[in-house]
């Protein structure tokens, strides 16, 4: 009698757990899927879809539903409209994506207004997480790679002088300022900063590079957005014979993204960059990730830092779903995200609970030749880098 009663209660409990509480978590992804940023949107999508596919049963009985929206032009307005609709009509639990900084900035007030968490999977302008308490960034801040590169160039590579060349928009200015601070903190001197056109300009960098070549610094620190610009940097550098002239090309990893590395050809060999990810990392987590990626998207597709950011972003969302058992209240999700730690393919990462920005390792990459293909060789590492812009209270980061 008693046993039967207990059994009935047990069955009932299981039924309730399985039936009533299985939630479908809605995730609205806003990214550039068409136009100039289409390649970035593709990387991010492949990243988060891969994580979802590999780990779907970890959140059982809950499931996720993804609604993809194109942010089209980086004018902020398109992204904001998409976010508005995702919040009011689709009633998403979490927002994610955001490739270009203006898209994240314009949308931030809506996240605050609606208390919907917003996971930044790329947009790297330093002070973005300050714009809303509902923002968490799993990608990077331009300062992380720039500052470390500056220190490394002066302290380890022993460079005395450097010229900075940047695409003339805020991420470029962030990167330049970060490098300058790091480089000069270790005794180097930045002798000139060359703005090299906007992000949409024709990337013929020759006149800018020629100017730098004629000035003969020890190092040339370049930031341009990943993609078309990046390939042009390596080629122009090689065509002008700047290495032979004794000028070292260095920069953040944006100028040698894994996805385009093979397109750059031999021109890229010898470039030194600092970044938070390369597909060539020799760790078990990364090897498994790259293998799964190639199985899913073909041998010709390589994950780059955007891919891993999408992957990690979905991992963060999944951890919140697990922790909160699918009850995705905005404030609770943010609390969960602030304590999130993850063994990412890029190494151990965490969200800084004070700034809601990422803490991650920065690695020094050197591009080398490995048979016919180009490869990233890791020659240095700085553990658990925070955003120096906030640490040093520079400009808007200090407010």
């Amino acid at each position: 009698m008693q046993i039967r009663h207990a059994l009935a209660v047990g069955v009932l409990a299981v039924a309730v757990a399985a039936g009533a509480e299985a939630k479908s978590v809605k995730i609205g992804i806003v990214a550039t899927f068409s136009g100039n940023g289409a390649e970035f949107g593709q990387q991010i999508e492949r990243g988060y879809e891969l994580y979802r596919k590999l780990h779907a049963n970890e959140i059982a009985p809950h499931t996720v539903e993804i609604i993809k929206r194109d942010s089209k032009r980086p004018d902020g307005a398109e992204a904001k409209n998409a976010v508005q609709e995702l919040i009011t009509r689709d009633k998403v639990d979490v927002l994610a994506g955001f490739v270009f900084s203006p898209d994240a900035m314009s949308s931030a007030p809506l996240a605050t207004q609606a208390k919907v968490p917003m996971i930044i999977m790329n947009a790297g302008t330093a002070w973005i997480p300050k714009l809303s308490p509902y923002i968490a960034r799993v990608s990077f801040s331009m300062w992380q790679s720039g500052y470390v590169m500056g220190e490394y160039a002066a302290a380890t590579m022993k460079h005395k002088t450097a010229i900075i060349g940047i695409t003339d928009y805020p991420p470029g200015k962030d990167s330049a300022e970060a490098f300058k601070r790091g480089f000069e903190a270790k005794g180097g001197q930045v002798v000139d900063t060359v703005p090299m056109g906007g992000p949409a300009e024709v990337p013929d960098f020759t006149p800018f590079f020629q100017r730098v070549k004629d000035a003969k610094p020890n190092a040339f620190y370049v930031f341009v957005p990943a993609g078309n610009h990046a390939a042009a940097v390596a080629k122009t550098y090689a065509n002008l014979g700047m290495r032979a002239a004794g000028i070292d090309l260095i920069g953040p990893g944006d100028i040698t993204p894994d996805n385009n590395l093979q397109e750059m050809g031999e021109a890229a060999v010898g470039i030194t960059v600092v970044h938070h990810y390369s597909a060539d990392y020799d760790t078990p987590e990364n090897k498994a990730f790259v293998k799964a990626w190639k199985e899913a998207y073909g041998a010709n597709s390589t994950p780059d830092f955007m891919g891993v950011q999408g992957y990690d972003g979905m991992a963060a969302i999944f951890s919140a779903i697990k922790k909160l058992d699918g009850n995705m209240d905005g404030d609770k999700v943010m609390e969960a995200l602030k304590r999130w730690k993850f063994a990412s393919p890029r190494g151990p990462i965490a969200i800084n609970p004070e700034t809601r920005d990422i803490i991650q390792n920065e690695y020094v990459h050197k591009i080398v030749k490995d048979g016919a293909r180009l490869k990233v060789s890791v020659v240095g590492k700085v553990d658990q880098v925070k955003d120096q812009c906030v640490e040093l209270k520079v400009g808007r980061c200090g407010q």
Binding site: A38, P195, G197, P207, Q210, D214, G241, N260
Partner: protein, 288 residues
């Protein structure tokens, strides 16, 4: 200082050649038919993708891939000319703008579908890499090659234009279409032919540009403004004008970027405004 001036002239010249090769076809077809063709960049882009695909998939040598791209894209452009352009010859320029922009949108999506959104590059042959020592200083080999190709094309175009019957017919039709027609010149067929050659040239320009400025599906729209500037400043239908305009814009743009990088993109547009305010019909355009 002198060294800087030489660099600027040289780099500007190479950049000017790309502008010229791509824009000259646009100038002639626009001059011939008064057709506002905003889709010219599509054919340059198609040439780029054809070159890259041939080199990668079938290991066609770079120097062979360029003429093949010329023929392929030139031939394909005839299909589009007959299908999309011909019905609009007598229609307003607004209709032409709308159709060609629509065509660009379709092309961007179609190229993304087939080749993906990632920028593509090519490995140019070893003999085009590195630097050439010209005695007093070194120059990038590939740029020298581009300048040579550019001048070769100008020579060829000039010969065809000035020394053949076909050239005489095209010149006549650009100057006065009605008169040419009444003399028995089939302007329609002439246009198809010029369109094909112009598109083929654009394709070669696209193929050459891959090494310099990369290639992705938005190529068709991204450089459109620059091509239009060359056409407008040079004057519709004038080879000489297109060449001079490309030279002017290429060199001044390069000089501006070298001397005052922060002014970056500003120069080419400022020159355009000044040039057109003084000579609205372009350097060698016909007055209407």
């Amino acid at each position: 200082m002198l060294s800087a001036a030489v660099s600027i002239l040289f780099d500007g010249l190479a950049y000017a050649m790309i502008l010229f090769i791509i824009a000259v076809g646009l100038s002639i077809t626009m001059g011939l038919m008064n057709f506002v063709n905003l889709a010219h960049g599509v054919f340059a882009m198609a040439g780029g993708y054809a070159t890259v695909t041939m080199i990668r998939a079938w290991e066609v040598p770079f120097l062979a891939a360029l003429p093949i791209a010329f023929v392929l894209v030139g031939a394909a452009s005839v299909v589009f000319e007959r299908l999309l352009y011909a019905p609009l010859y007598r229609r307003s320029e607004l209709d032409q703008v709308l159709m060609t922009i629509g065509f660009v949108f379709m092309a961007i999506a179609a190229f993304t579908y087939f080749w993906g959104p990632n920028p593509l590059g090519i490995e140019v042959p070893r003999y085009l890499k590195g630097q050439v020592d010209l005695g007093f200083r070194e120059f990038p080999t590939y740029r020298l090659f581009m300048i040579a190709v550019g001048f070769g094309m100008i020579l060829a175009l000039w010969l065809v234009f000035e020394r053949t019957l076909l050239g005489a017919r095209i010149r006549a039709a650009v100057d006065n279409r009605r008169m040419a027609q009444s003399l028995g010149i089939d302007v329609g067929r002439l246009f198809t032919l010029t369109f094909a050659v112009g598109s083929g040239l654009a394709a070669v320009g696209g193929g050459l540009a891959v090494e310099l400025i990369g290639l992705r599906p938005t190529f068709a729209i991204q450089y459109l403004v620059h091509f239009l500037i060359v056409v407008a400043v040079g004057g519709l239908g004038s080879i000489r004008g297109a060449f001079l305009a490309a030279l002017l814009l290429g060199i001044i743009d390069t000089a501006g970027k070298y001397v005052w990088p922060a002014g970056g993109g500003f120069f080419i547009y400022a020159i355009t405004v000044v040039a057109l305010l003084i000579k609205p019909e372009g350097l060698y355009g016909k007055r209407d």
